[in-house]
Amino acid sequence: MIFLTRKAEFSSAHFYWVDDWSEDENLKVFGKCANRNGHGHNYTVEVTVAGEVDPVSGFVVDLKQLKDILEHEVIRVYDHRHLNLEVPEFRESIPTTENIAIAIWNRLADKIPNARLHRVRVYEMPDLFADFYGEQE
């Protein structure tokens, strides 16, 4: 079994806010991330797939194909967008780094030919990242 990782980047705006909470409560929990004018990050996503090496091609998956899937399913939708306002999955959930990792997993899970999605890692900044392995609990 080999694990292969592809990285991609996107730059997006977001903010953290729970409608059912008062402004004070939102500020208390989310601090400066609750600014409703939003703020932004350069995100890095690492997608790791697991599979056997094809004895003929020597590939687990065709990297070009993985790049195209990532571009089509994720980057095209997230890059230079406001996640709260323009990406459908964040109408119902807050675009925290954790939820972004889960959302990217859901976008990719059944799209990878010949390999299994193993991990989605999302860096909000170099010192902060979230991993999702598809574990439901």
Binding site: T96, D127, L128, A130, D131
Partner: protein, 135 residues
């Protein structure tokens, strides 16, 4: 939905690798330049990974501000700009990064906001150590 959250913290400290169980010459042999009696220092990077259910309301595994405050009080204020050998936790243990990882794991195991998965410490750009508990 279970997710893993990792946060990196930085501190600078000095230390000297020297085991009281070894004679002077043996210490020099085993630890090389790290045995320099005057000590030396590093910029350490600590990566803390915690896990848990993503709260359906906040979208978070744990509140980062809580983790940062815990790290500030229990990690950075204790270790930053210190000589590790002078700290109580290294009174009877060599201040290798292996032992540092175990001590930092013990510290973050006390973080009440999420389950601690792993401590990863980079001593230099070329050395790193992981400890995920013995369980």
């Amino acid at each position: 939905m279970k997710a893993y959250l990792s946060r990196r913290y930085h501190f600078s400290a000095s230390h000297r690798l020297n085991s009281p169980a070894y004679a002077e010459e043996r210490n020099r042999e085993v630890y090389g330049k790290c045995n320099n009696p005057h000590g030396h220092g590093h910029n350490y990077t600590v990566e803390v990974t915690v896990s848990g259910r993503v709260d359906p309301v906040t979208g978070m595994v744990c509140n980062l501000a809580d983790l940062d405050a815990f790290a500030q009080k229990n990690l950075l204020e204790r270790f930053d700009h210190t000589n590790l050998n002078e700290l109580e936790c290294f009174a009877y243990r060599v201040s290798t990064t292996e032992n540092l990882s175990i001590e930092v794991y013990r510290i973050f195991a006390g973080f009440p906001g999420a389950h601690l998965e792993r401590i990863h410490i980079e001593e230099t750009g070329n050395n790193s150590f992981d400890y995920a508990g013995d369980g």
